[in-house]
Amino acid sequence: MDQANKRRGFFSSFAPPQAPPSATTTVDVPATPTVPAPGLVSPYLNFDPAYITPDTGSDFIFPEGASRQRGRFELAFSQIGGCVFAGAAFGGVNGLYSGFLETKELTGAAKRTQLLNFITKKGASSAQSLGVIALMYSAIGVILSLSRGTEDELNTMTAGTCTGLLYKSSAGWKKCVRGGLVGFSLAAVYCIYTSKDRLKTILSKD
């Protein structure tokens, strides 16, 4: 390979246009054997094509009904932030409603201040609790998927159950178990919803 031709590869857009390399260099041998020289093939193409297309099926196409394309860690912060926002919105509306109920007899600035207090306090507290739940779920899910090396429904179910148990762990055994059950059922509903295509194929086979 001549040196001028090789160097053109890097700064091809800056280099002045050069004449194409003469046909006598080894690079310009045609890819398919021609009539005058039947045995001469470009050395870069002279190999068994079975190496590039193995018959084990395609490798890079995701199977249908795959539960998730993006990794858990990548989604974690968005999920936590979404939960914090949703909790703040829900708590704000809830605080506005209960503030109107509580401050019926007040008027003017006192009523306004009371309403604002209700909205901010309820909004903050529900944003905090939803955010903590999302944080626990994401942390457990990321740890599970990193330690097991796979990403499947078992991770989701385990993370949901553990989140419920952990969130209610300070409220006594009964509430703790109830929290775990709630987490388990929510995770199960989510798993059934996300993998319903696969469930359909499994059920139709039988």
């Binding site: 040196q3 160097r7 890097f10 993006r70 990794g71 860690f73 990548e74 974690a76 912060f77 968005s78 999920q79 936590i80 932030g81 979404g82 939960c83 914090v84 926002f85 903050a124 944003a127 905090q128 609790s129 955010g131 903590v132 999302a134 944080l135 994401s138 942390a139 300070s170």
Partner: protein, 169 residues
């Protein structure tokens, strides 16, 4: 972290809010865990209980405060991207200062100025470290550098056991 990249702008607010909440909640767990462990009646069991209670009550509050900071910061950042039509370190620095000022608005003008300065300096440091890091890591991917090293004519002549004679393979 190799799979983590920043989202495009309106969703970045949610993303940053979540990141800040996690940072605050986890950091607050450590901080309030230690604080609750120290501020407790004697006995290891009681200390552990106090540490756990302290985490349970106060870590979400720290996380919430961080989340407010992160969400407001990111909202101002995105608004500035929308207004100025470009993304540069000045956006982050200005939105850090503005966030500090807005969150201290109930505490008077002096406190507003103080926390605006703190926010701006903090964000300027973060951006500066980021720029330095990018510059150092970019040296590895400099195409001119790579070409200079890979061109065989630039390499010194190889000394073989047969002396300095050229080898024909």
């Amino acid at each position: 972290m190799e799979e983590y990249a920043r989202d495009p702008c309106p969703w970045r607010i949610v993303d940053d809010c979540g990141g800040a909440f996690s940072m605050g909640a986890i950091g607050g767990s450590v901080f309030h865990g230690i604080k609750g462990f120290r501020n407790a009646p004697t006995g290891h069991y009681r200390r552990l209980i106090s540490s756990f209670e302290s985490i349970r009550i106060r870590a979400p509050i720290t996380g919430g405060n961080f989340a407010v900071w992160g969400g407001l910061f990111s909202a101002i950042d995105c608004s500035m991207v929308y207004v100025r039509k470009k993304e540069d370190p000045w956006n982050s620095i200005t939105s850090g200062a503005l966030t500090g000022a807005i969150l201290a608005v109930r505490n008077g003008t002096g406190a507003m100025v103080g926390s605006a300065i703190i926010g701006g300096v903090l964000l300027a440091m973060i951006e500066g470290i980021g720029i330095l890091f990018t510059r150092f890591s970019a040296q590895q991917f400099d195409p001119a550098n790579v070409m200079f090293q890979e061109d065989p004519s630039q390499l010194p002549k190889k000394e073989t056991i047969f002396g300095n004679s050229p080898t024909y393979q």
